[in-house]
Structures are given as C-alpha cells and as structure tokens.
Amino acid sequence: MASTINATTSGVVTTGDSVATLSLQTGGTTAVAIDTAQIVTLSKSLALLGSTSGSVSIAAPATAGTQSYTLPTAVPAVSGYALTATTGGVMSWAAASGNPGGSTTQVQYNNAGAFAGSANMTFDGTTLTAAGFSGPLNGTVGATTANTGAFTTLSASSTVSGTGFSNYLASPPAIGGTAPAAGTFTTAKAIAAATQDSVLLQGRAGGTGSYVATITPTTLTASRTLTIPDATGTILQSGTAVTVAQGGTGLTAGTSGGIPYYSGTSAITSSALLTQYGVVYGGGAGAAPVATAVGTTGQFLGANTGGAPTWQTPSGGSSGPTFAAYLSSNQNPTLSTFTKVTLNATQWDTASAFNTTTNRFQPLTAGYYLITVQANYDAATTVTDSILAIYKNGSNYSRVFRNNLRGTGVPSTVNFAELISAGSAMIYFNGTTDYVELYIYIVGSGTATVYNGTAYTTMTGAFIRA
C-alpha cells in the first residue's frame, strides 16, 4: 500500500494490512521500517541532536549480525561504573576491571602494555617470594631457610633499610647488583642487641640440606673482639674437649690437686692428687708425675738408692734429737738383780723422745745415736761388784761399765764404799719402736742406793747420723 502524508498536517498513519510493514522512504530508499511486531528498524544510524547544536549517533557495525542489548534497569549506583553485558546482551553497571596475567599468586607487571605474571615473583597473601635475581645475590625473600648463595631470612625483626646500609658501607651496593669493590666496607655490620639477633652462616657444600651455623653473642658487659688467625684450621668444638692439636688439653675433667701431663705424644692425662707441700718429680715416659712425702723441719731433699728425691735428715749437726735425763730421787735397787734406773726427769729433750714415766729414750728419727750413761751408787755395807748396762728393747744391749772386786788376785777384804760408773754406746734406732733404758746391777750387802741428781745418775744421747 502506498500513502501520502501531508507534511503540514499532523495525523496518524495506519495500515490495515496485518502483515504489512510500515516504511518511510527517502529518495526511493527505506530509511525507517516498522513491522507488525512494533520493531523499528533504522537503515543507517540513530542521530540524537544536541539541544543547542551537534548530534550523537548510534550506529550498528557494517556487518552487524543479529544482536540484542538490554539496557540496565537503573542508573549506576557509584560514579565511574562501567557498562557491562552478559552473553545475552543484558547490560548492567559494574566497577571497571581488567583480566590479570600469569597464574594465581603471581605479581602483575607491565609486559609491553599488558598485564603479565611470573613465577619468579609471587605473593600468596603472606609471603612475598622473589627469584631470578641477577648476580650473586640470587635468593628468596621471606623464606625461612636460605638457599644456596641466597639471602638469609629477612623478617620483621630484622629491619634493613637503605639508611642502615649506608651507615656501614661507604658505597652500599644495590641488592641484586654487583659485589662491592674491595675496601668498600668501612665498618663491620652491627647487629641489633635484640636477643633473637644472630648471624647465620650457610653450611659448606657436602653438608646436609640447607643447615646453617648460627653465631649468637651472649649477654655482654662490654664490647668484645674476636680476631680470626691468619691460618686455616678448626679452632673450637662445642660440646667436647678441645684437643691437644687445637691448643687444648683434650680433658673433660681432672683430679683436684693433680696436674695434667703427657701420657702419650699427643694425649694429656690428669695425674693423681699430689700431696700438699710435696715436691713433684717426673714419673718417666707415659707415667704421671708424683710428689714426695711431706718433709719435716730440718730435713733436706736428697735421693734414695733408686735416685728418687726424698726428704732426709741431715747427719750430725744440731738438727738431730738430743736429750739429757736424770734420776730425780734416790732409788734402792734389789741386790744382784738388774734393776731399771728410774730416770724420771730431763734437762733437755729436743725431740720429746724421752719418756719420764717409762724411763725410756725412744726417738722418732731413725739413725745412729751416741748414748752415754752414768750412775752414782753404793750399798749400806759393801759393794763387791756392779754393772751398768744399757738395755735396748727390753734386753741387755751393752754393759758399759763393771767393777768386780771378786776376781782372781783381789783380796776378799777389799770392798767399794761408793762408786760412780759411766760408759757409752753407739746405738741404732729405727725411728719407730726402738728404745733404750739404763739398768744397774749391784752386788754387796745392805741396802743399795742409786743417788739422784744431774751430776750423779744420768742418761744422755744425741743423734749422730742417719
């Protein structure tokens, strides 16, 4: 059907044909068509005129295909939202976003104008990991265990900043850059005084896994300096004795009062307890040094028959014991009976060796002694025979004097009235059990008497030699 509309008259254009399409043509070409489904088709584009000037056109692609878009149901809730659409063409307002490059956890970087990711730089929300550094500083940031040739752990407690590095490096190198030139370091890196601070040293090749050696200072009361010697070697081993080769003794314990000695060419052993005041002398190859016994006043250090040093008492001189004992009250011995003279007092007794109760001289210094005895005695009527004897250990040792008037050729009428007898003997004492006593034997009649006094009845003695 063809119709003509008066351009100057408003009205309604209808078509009575239920299948017909209403078309508007210009220049013989359809510009607008409205079909029976009330779909309006524009042949070119839709131009919206500005209220003042200009226009905005909406046009379909040259090869448009069949597409349908449905506008959002409302204006954007937030300024800056972008218009997005489903695959069905249903549009809505949403925040603007782009698609990340790489894989999950990979940090995005500009790869020629596009987002990209790399396994060398990841962040899982907790740990930032970086690898692929150039140069010798290859490693992992944030790892708990250092990799070979890598950084050690950097944690929140180990603050590292550019300023801090500058304090210790004249020309601080960039991390991941080249090694600093010789002489760059001006001061050793200081470590904060926090207790957890330490220096970790990567174990040498051949060790187990990624074990590290940790150097941690103890609580310090002053700055300390450790100087490493200009030599190669192991200087310390913790938990075991420092060996002789390392400058130690190799001992974990010793004997109190003992001394360490070489029991082998490279082994040190602790000797047994050495006597206080003893003189130490060698024990020979592999044997422990020993000490002499304790000396006593006046002794000197000599040698025994084997050559070992030993304390000895000097021979003679004034250092040996000496004594002078005497009878302090008269004594009446039984006639014809060897009777011990009760020497019960002393004039001197330098070694306290004379017992005035047992009347014995018993020195504790072994050696040879000169013993002299003297007795002044008589009997009430006559004295015809008398003997002065030194007893050693309870037995007659030496009869040092005798007066016998009943020998051949002596008249029986001759008698003694009073006698003083004296004699001496050289006697060896063992220094422990040996002792001597004075005995007198008087033959006569009447009561015999031995007179007291330092001038009358005595026993004296002196050490002569060992």
Partner: protein
C-alpha cells in the same frame, strides 16, 4: 727375803758369776711388779718353781 736370796737359798752352790754373766738373770723393771727371773740358763740346776719360791716366802 728377795728373789735373789730365795734362789741362793735353794741353790747355795750358785755364785755371783752365775748372776752377773746372765746364766741366771734376775731383773726388776721398776714398774711395781717387783723382781722376776728374766733368764734361767743354768746347765744343771732347774729353774725354781713358783711353789718353791712361795714356800721360801713363808719362812
């Protein structure tokens, strides 16, 4: 009577020689125990018994 006197009473043939030379040795250690026979080495005379000596004590 002391021990010496008892013995010479028992054996009058004994002389001072026997006592002074130690054939028979009488001793007193001045310790309160008195005289005693320290040695009896006489070749023919037997050592007197305690009973013999006690008997002489009663005289």
């Amino acid at each position: 009577m002391n021990l010496y006197e008892k013995i010479v009473t028992l054996y009058p043939e004994l002389s001072n020689f026997d006592f002074s030379k130690g054939i028979i040795s009488l001793q007193n250690d001045s310790d309160g125990r008195g005289d005693y026979i320290a040695a009896w080495n006489h070749p023919t005379l037997p050592r007197p018994t305690d009973e013999q000596l006690m008997a002489l004590e009663a005289k």
